[in-house]
């Protein structure tokens, strides 16, 4: 995913902002985590695709 996507990405539960932790980056972010501190949920980024489905629905 492009880093600029973070401007519009929100936690699907509370619609709050997310904290990004990058593990692997080429031009775009390949691997990492988006964290919602309010809901205490981690949304993983894998192969450049953020998985924004809440754990209970995965």
């Amino acid at each position: 995913m492009k880093e600029s996507l973070l401007n519009i990405l929100r936690c699907p539960e509370c619609k709050g902002e997310l904290e990004l932790a990058v593990e692997k980056k080429n031009k775009e972010i390949e691997e990492g985590t988006l964290h919602c501190s309010k809901c205490a949920i981690d949304y993983p980024i894998k192969d450049g695709i953020p998985n924004m489905i809440t754990p209970k629905h995965r």
């Binding site: 519009i8 990405l9 936690c11 192969d47 695709i49 998985n51 924004m52």
Partner: protein, 226 residues
């Protein structure tokens, strides 16, 4: 959500062969017509567009090629891996975006996979992230589609125009609704026809669908938001 279709679309083999199986022979002309229809309803230039249930990104790519900045959302990671467009795996009923992130949202071949009780929440949620309008299609029950839909592996739900209009008008963010009737002959039948035959039948089909809306198998909707 996506209970009926979810498993089927997640099979990797289905995702990889999806385009090939659907867009050969008569399916090619249908694909062209669908693209034309979408571009007649959405002016993509310089727009931020969300494609909900983007699948392998067929319509997302079309809009991107025509000047839009597109994000594709789908519940199936296997489908998204086939797409060339910026992708987000997510649930259509709780969109992971901030309010008014997009000018326009689209969703093709998706509404028939939703439960009737989820449609109002879905429209509200799309309205939350979308400034201008939502373009999508529904499959009409009083049509030839009824004759063959039992064969679809992913299952589908058919909603009448009046049923949907009633729901849309109850959603507070909806300002105006427009419907456009298309395709008397359902997609699946076109996909199995030889190429030359399809062109002739489709020409006849287009003329008739405009005059006889109750015969149309597919309805394209424009829902405008406050």
């Amino acid at each position: 959500m996506l209970k009926k279709g979810q498993k089927w679309y997640k099979i990797e083999d289905v995702a990889e062969k999806y385009e090939d199986s659907r867009f050969t022979g008569g399916g090619k002309i249908l694909d062209k017509k669908e693209r034309e229809t979408l571009l007649s309803l959405v002016d993509p230039k310089d727009k931020k567009i969300l494609d909900i249930a983007t699948g392998t990104g067929r319509f997302a790519e079309l809009l991107s090629e025509n000047g839009a900045e597109v994000i594709g959302l789908d519940a199936s990671r296997e489908m998204l891996l086939q797409s060339e467009i910026g992708s987000v795996q997510g649930d259509a009923l709780s969109l992971p975006f901030k309010d008014e992130s997009f000018d326009v949202s689209i969703s093709m071949r998706f509404l028939h996979l939703l439960d009737p009780s989820d449609i109002d929440d879905f429209i509200s949620e799309v309205g939350r992230v979308t400034k201008e309008k939502f373009v999508f299609e529904s499959l009409h029950p009083l049509s030839l589609r009824m004759l063959y839909q039992w064969a679809l592996p992913q299952g589908s739900r058919l909603y009448s125009n009046s049923f949907l209009k009633e729901i849309f008008h109850e959603v507070s963010v909806v300002k105006k609704v427009k419907s456009h009737e298309r395709f008397i002959i359902p997609y699946g039948i076109y996909q199995s026809l030889p190429l030359d035959l399809t062109e002739e039948i489709m020409e006849l089909d287009e003329k008739t669908a405009e005059d006889q809306e109750w015969l149309a198998s597919t309805i394209y909707w424009e829902v405008f938001f406050e």
